[in-house]
Every structure is written in C-alpha cells, then in structure tokens.
C-alpha cells in the first residue's frame, strides 16, 4: 500500500519536475511545480512528517506559488522565443546533468546508513513535537528565520517601490 503510494507520488513528482523544465509558458511551469509540491507533501506524510506536510501545502504550494502566479500575471505571459544565443548550452547541459546525476546516484549506492535512534513514532513529526523542538532547541534558528523574513520583506518593499526621483 505505502509502496504504491510512494510510486504514484514519485511518478507525479517526476512528471511535475519534467513539466517545470519543459513547458514554455511560465504559468504551466508554476503549476507543474505545484504538482511536485503536492506529490512531495504526500511523501512527507508517508514519512511521518505531518507538520511539514501541512506547511508544504499551505505555505509553500499555497502562498509562495501564488506569489509566483501573481508575478506572472503582473508581467504577462512571457514565452521563450527563438533558439537562444547559447547553442551548445542545451546539449552540454544535458550531458552535465546526466553526469551529475550519475555521480550522485553512484555515491548513493551501497551507503551504510546510520543506526536509527529509538523514537516514539506516535509523536514523531506531530505539531507538538515540532513545536517543542522549534521553541527550545531550535529557538535560535527559528528567530533567525524571522530576521531573514524581515529583511526579505524590507528588500522586496524597497525594490518594488516606485522610483520617486
């Protein structure tokens, strides 16, 4: 059962991934990415990461991707036209990508994984456990994300402000 879910989700994710990089219309790429995200969220759930699953759907697929859609809507549907200037780019890219994947794949083979820790799977990944982690051990990183977001916000505001000169 779980394996079936995994296979389906994985295929969807890959399909979405291919979609991202093949569709000419940006809007279709965005939607493909949403598909990937949804598929991944399923996998997260499968991996006992309920809270991440929720955040993935609500924040990531929901909010961030909508932002992309807004921008696309704002700017108009720009299609890539012509063949571009870098003639060898596509071929070489394919080659390099295959090489990169091959290397990653090769190195993932025969890995001796680490002995798992004894964990109660009933609380693993629940909102409570995440919260307890975030507000105690992860307090510092958590606070840092707030600064990060603040800076991103200021930057975005500054950049998108109309030039007053």
């Amino acid at each position: 059962m779980a394996i079936a879910v995994f296979v389906v989700a994985a295929l969807m994710a890959i399909a979405g991934g291919i979609g991202v990089i093949t569709f000419h219309q940006p809007i279709r790429s965005v939607l493909s990415l949403v598909l990937v995200m949804l598929a991944l969220s399923v996998l997260f759930l499968l991996l006992s990461a309920q809270f991440v699953f929720v955040v993935q759907i609500i924040v990531y697929a929901g909010a961030v991707m909508v932002l992309f859609l807004f921008v696309i809507a704002l700017l108009g549907p720009a299609r890539e036209s012509g063949r571009g200037r870098l003639r060898f780019q596509a071929g070489l890219s394919g080659l390099f990508a295959v090489a990169l994947f091959g290397l990653i794949y090769a190195m993932l083979q025969g890995v001796q994984y680490r002995q798992p820790e004894k964990t109660d799977l009933n609380v693993f990944g629940t909102v409570q456990s995440i919260a307890a982690g975030l507000f105690t051990t992860y307090l510092y990183p958590f606070e840092l994300t707030s600064v990060l977001l603040l800076v991103a916000a200021i930057g975005a505001i500054y950049l998108s402000r109309r030039d007053e000169r």
Partner: protein
C-alpha cells in the same frame, strides 16, 4: 736609509708625473722642461748611490693585502739585477727625456706637459717593474708600462692610426698580463706565496709541494706551466712571436717614445723577466728551451721583414724585435749575463739610432719614408755620424759595442754545443748577416747619394743642442761601451757578467776557442753585407713574391684579424641580435606575452551569460566529484 732611498727611486718620477698631471698644463713651459727630466735624473742619482754602496736587500714597506693564507707586502728588491736595470732605465731614460725637451718643442702647452707626464709615468712604472719584490707588483709595473706605452703611442690622438695602434698595443699587452697573472696563480697554489724570496727559496727546497711524487720535483708540470705562462707575458711585452704585431704599429708614437719604450727599456722587460725568474727557468727545461727558440725565430723573422720596410722607424722597430730575439736567445740558453749585456748595448745603440732618426724626421717635417730622404750625409753631418755609429754598432762591426755583445751571445750558443743551441746559433748567424744587409740598406738609402726629389725639405736644419748632446753621449757609449766586457774574446774585463752573475746563473760551460773565430767571422760577413747593401738594394725585383710576403709581414696582422678580431666582432653582433634579444630577452618578454594572450582567451569564458556560468559551476562540481572518487579509488 737605504729603504727610503729605494722608495725614492720610484718617488721622483711619480712626483714628477703627479705635479705635471695636476698643474703642468698651466705652468710655464720651462717648469715642465725642468721637472720632466729632473725627475728621471734624480732617480738615476739615487740608483747610482745604491749601486756604489753595493746595497743588496729586500725592503718591505706595508702589507698590501692579507686574505687568509694569501699575504702580500709591498716590497722592493734591491739586488744587482734590479740596480743594473734601474741604471739602464734612468740613465738612458734620462738622456731620452732630455732629448724630448727639444723634440717635442712644437707641441702646445697642455700636450707638452702631457708628454712629460706620460714619460715620468713610464719611468715610474718601469722602475716599479724591475724593483718589485713580488709577483703582484711585478704585474702592476708590467701593466703600468703597458699603459704608459698605450698613452704614448696614442699621444697624437688626432691620428686615427695612432689611436688604433695604442689600443692594439694595450690589448696585446693585456694578453701578456693575463698570462703572468695565471702564472702567478700557479706559483701561489704550489708555494702559497708570491714574493720572489719565498717562491725561489721554496723552489730550492723540496721543489713541488703538490706533486704526487716528490722525486719529480726537479722539473714538474707545475713549474713548466708557470714558466710557460710567465713566458706569455714576456713574449707579449717584448714583442716576440707570436705576440709581436703591436710593436711596428707602436711607431705611431713620438720618436723619443720609440727610443725609450720601444727600444731601450720596456720591450726588454721580457728579458728581465726571464732573468729574474731564472730559478724557475733553470728547472723548467722545456719552457727555457722555448725561450731560446722563440728568441731565435723572432730574430730571424723580424730581420727579414726589416729588409723591405721603407719607413725608417719601422726598420728600427723590426730591428729592435730582432735584437730582443737575440737577448731571448741568450737568456734562453742560460747565458743570462750575455743577454743583459746585449740589453745594455742595445739600449745604447738603438736609442741612439732612434734619436738620430728622430733628428732626421724632425728636420724632414715628420716625413719618415727613407726613399724620400737621401743625401743627408752632407747636410746633417753630426746626426749622420752618430747614426752611422749606431748602424755599425747594430751590425756588429768591430769594435763597436754591438760586436762584443752579439759575439758573446753567439759564442755562448756555439760553445754549448748541444743540438738546440747549435740550431739557434745557426739562426743567429743568419740573422746577423741579414742585419748587416738591412742596416746597410737603411743607411745608404737615407744618408748617401743624392737628395730625393720628393724630399719635403731642401735644406734641413741640424738638431739643437738639447737634442744633439744626448745623441752624442750615446754615440760615445756605443763606441766605447763594448770594452767593459771583452773577456769572451779571451781577455779583458767582464764587468757586466761579474756584476750580474751574483744574481743570475752563470753558464756552466766554457767558451770554446772556435766560438771567437766564428764570432769574428760572422761580424765580418755582416759588415761586408752592410757595405754591399749599397749595391744589392734592388734585390727584390728578382723575387717579387718574397717582397710581397715580407711587405705584408708574413700576413700576421691579416691572420689575427681574420682569426680573432673579426670573429669576435661578428660573434658579438650576432650574439646580440640573435641570442641576447631573441632568446635571453625573448624568453622573458615571451612569458609576459604568453600570460597576456592566455588572459585574453580565458576572458572569453567570462561571456556574461548567466547560463554559461551555471554550466561551468556544474562542470566544476562534476570535476570535483570525479576528483574525489578517483582519489578514493586509488
């Protein structure tokens, strides 16, 4: 006291030179006229004083340098040999400098002072050469006389030929200097000393300190090497084969210079050297033999060339070479005293010949071509007479000084009787005959007959007293000088030999009775040829090729030019163009240009395209991963 006196010998000419160099050209001419000769005569007096007091000592003044085991003082060696040489130098030198007062009178103020400066420098250098008590100051003096010679040859620097001749003389002399320096190195490495006393006493002791087998010490390759290297110096300075080509050209200098440096003193330094180094040459038989052979060959060689010369000074120059060849021959076979006696005699008659010729040249307004003289006998009687005395002495007519000295040399060679000496005697005999011929040719051509149509001056003036008196003194000496040493003929005194053989080695063979006869016969034949030369002059029409060969001086200059001078210039020019600029500099510049070119092409990778950058990024990541995988695998 004597120590100071010895230094004074050097001091007077040095002081004279410094004074004249510093202010001479602003002083009245008379001051120059006084200081120049006075410096030399003062030295002469001091030397005479030492001579009369029989001083014999090695005076050390200060440590010149000390460097590890190499310690060298500035010391002056006063012994019979150096006193003898000093007397010749200051005596004959004094006469010649005095003569110059008149000869150079046409020069303007600065040049006049310059001339006497150079002359004093020369006297100083020559005295240093003979007085030096060690090899280094011998070399210093050796080089300084070369320098003075350079200055004086190039005295009339307006003449390009004089400038070139000066340079030629200098470079040739430097070759000799280098030979001597290397010879000194050999001696130092063997004996760890460079003073004469240490080296010679080491030679007398266990001879070769570095020899593998001490029993070979008597004559070792080391000693031979040192002797040969010193010989290079002697040969260069004394214009012997094969380093002789500078001397004829050196006649570009004023005539007193030729008389002093290129006849009487400097060119005989080689003879002095071999005499001074007799402990070495006594042991080094091959080098010693080489001295004799070089001397003999040079004597003949130079005499043959003298036959065809037309320039009166050049005849005398080749004659000088030839006579020095005799001296070399003498010291080379071990008859040192005979060699030095001929040195003295030659100083008398050759200085006389040059100065008398100088009178002629003066009178002829610097014309030196004998073919344009003629008929001077009646017009310049005193000069002609003195010149004739010189000629007769040169030829060896009895009883002029040349007869006694030359006879002694040939006699010594004849009597020793081994194949080598007999050979050199043969050459010497031949040379003596040729000497008679070319001297006769010179005499008849210049002074006899009718005045040449091309003569620049119709009524030449006789030289002034200041020039004539030194010539006369020398003429007297040339006539009577021989009688101080007549014992070779079986009777009479041998003042020079007795005096010098306290220092140099005595010949270890007896004068044979046949030698005297052979000597007298030789000189008689030579005299006959002298007289016959009047008729035999147009000989060259018979063998024109020989004339050409001799006129080109056996093509030595051409050979040297082709073998050394032109290749050197060519190598320098080609080396500069093709190696220095292309390779040595090119490699450096090329490296820079290569870097720039690489930069230029690398720059194209920075295309400005984002996707290219990412591509390179990924490529880098792949390379890094492969690197680590290969590393792990190996």
């Amino acid at each position: 006291m004597n120590q100071t006196l010895a230094l004074l010998i050097l001091g007077f000419p040095a002081a004279g030179a410094i004074i004249l160099a510093g202010r001479g050209w602003r002083m009245p001419r008379i001051v120059t006229q006084i200081i120049g000769p006075l410096a030399v005569w003062s030295s002469f007096i001091v030397t005479l004083n030492l001579f009369l007091n029989h001083v014999n000592d090695d005076f050390t003044y200060w440590t010149w340098i000390k460097s590890g085991s190499f310690e060298l003082p500035f010391d002056l060696l006063i012994d019979n040999l150096s006193i003898f040489m000093c007397l010749v130098i200051t005596g004959v030198g004094g006469l010649i400098v005095t003569y110059s007062v008149g000869y150079m009178a046409h020069e303007d103020g600065p040049s006049y002072a310059r001339f006497f400066t150079y002359m004093d420098v020369f006297i100083f250098s020559m005295l240093l050469l003979v007085l030096a008590g060690n090899f280094v100051f011998l070399i210093v003096g050796w080089a300084l006389v070369g320098l003075s010679s350079y200055f004086l040859i190039g005295f009339w620097y307006q003449r390009r030929s004089a400038v070139l001749a000066a340079r030629k003389a200098f470079v040739m002399n430097v070759i000799g200097d280098v030979g001597m320096i290397l010879g000194a190195f050999v001696l130092f490495v063997s004996y760890h000393a460079l003073t004469y006393s240490s080296v010679f006493s080491a030679l007398k002791g266990p001879l070769c300190l570095v020899c593998v087998n001490p029993s070979q010490a008597a004559d070792s390759p080391t000693i031979e090497l040192a002797a040969f290297l010193l010989l290079v110096g002697a040969v260069a300075k004394s214009a012997q084969l094969p380093l002789h080509t500078w001397l004829p050209d050196a006649m570009e200098g004023p005539t007193p210079v030729s008389a002093l440096i290129h006849a009487a003193t400097m060119v005989t330094a080689g003879v002095y050297l071999v005499g001074r180094m007799h402990p070495i040459y006594d042991v080094a038989v091959y080098a010693h033999g080489a001295v004799a052979i070089i001397g003999a060959v040079t004597a003949l060689f130079a005499a043959t060339i003298a036959i065809v010369q037309t320039d009166i000074k050049r005849v005398l120059a080749y004659s000088t070479m030839s006579q020095i060849g005799y001296m070399f021959l003498a010291v080379g076979i071990g008859a040192y005293a005979a060699g030095f006696f001929h040195l003295l005699a030659h100083a008398f008659f050759k200085a006389l010949l040059f100065m008398a010729a100088g009178n002629v040249i003066h009178a002829m307004h610097d014309e030196q071509d004998m073919r344009k003289y003629g008929g001077l006998w009646s017009q310049m009687r005193p000069t002609s007479v003195t010149f004739l005395i010189g000629c007769l002495s040169l030829v060896g007519v009895i009883p002029f000084v040349g007869f006694f000295s030359k006879e002694q040399i040939l006699g010594a060679a004849f009597s020793k009787g081994d194949p080598l000496t007999l050979t050199v005697w043969g050459i010497g005999f031949l040379t003596a005959l040729i000497t008679g011929f070319y001297t006769g040719r010179m005499w008849w051509l210049s002074f006899w007959g009718k005045p040449s149509a091309q003569r620049p001056v119709e009524h030449p003036h006789e030289a002034p007293a200041v020039m004539m008196i030194p010539v006369a003194i020398l003429a007297v000496l040339a006539v009577v000088g021989g009688f101080i040493q007549t014992r070779a003929l079986g009777t009479g005194p041998a003042l020079v030999s007795d005096f010098l053989e306290k220092v140099v080695t005595k010949p270890n063979w007896e004068e044979s009775s046949g030698a005297v006869g052979a000597g007298i016969a030789t000189m008689a034949l030579a005299t006959a040829l002298f007289l016959a030369a009047y008729r035999l002059r147009p000989w060259s029409a018979v063998v024109p090729w020989a004339q050409r060969l001799l006129e080109h001086k056996y093509y030595f200059d051409e050979m040297y030019d082709a073998a050394f001078v032109r290749p050197m210039d060519a190598i320098a020019a080609i080396g500069y163009r093709d190696v220095e600029e292309l390779v040595i500099d090119g490699a450096v510049v090329g490296a820079g240009e290569a870097a720039e070119a690489t930069a230029g092409s690398l720059r194209l990778t920075q295309s400005g395209y984002f996707r290219n950058y990412v591509l390179v990024f990924v490529a880098g990541a792949i390379i890094a991963a492969v690197l680590l995988i290969v590393r792990a695998a190996s």
